[in-house]
Assembly symmetry: C2
Homo-oligomer: 82 residues x 2
Amino acid sequence: MIFSAQIKVMPLKNLLDPQGKAVMGGLANLGITGINDVRIGKQINLVIEASNEMQAKEKADEAAKKLLANAVMEMYEIEISK
Amino acid sequence: MIFSAQIKVMPLKNLLDPQGKAVMGGLANLGITGINDVRIGKQINLVIEASNEMQAKEKADEAAKKLLANAVMEMYEIEISK
């Protein structure tokens, strides 16, 4: 069966996000006001072939742990759909 | 009022995603099998001060159009929450 996994990787809350800060400055320069904070992460969509949803989730989790997210600086969330 | 906007920016379906292709190769090298496709985009979280949800959505949309997404190569989705 084919599953779709959406993995969201965001910088940890306690860490500075320099890319987000730069975008916040950019938005202010463009005249877009009222933006109090910006944080930027990655969105990774996988198409996974697995025999069931649990196995698909395990594969996505392994991929996130081993390659996609750096646990020291980032947290991730996985959502599986058919 | 304070709203949170989650903006997902993904490469358009018809375009190649070289970063995704590279990650797909990396996953195969790590021995993670059964991954048929990888696409990588950005996840941007904004904290917006606005008088109502519609205004918050408008600000997020303006930010996405003017700075965060490149309409030629990317599509975006916005989700607003309190």
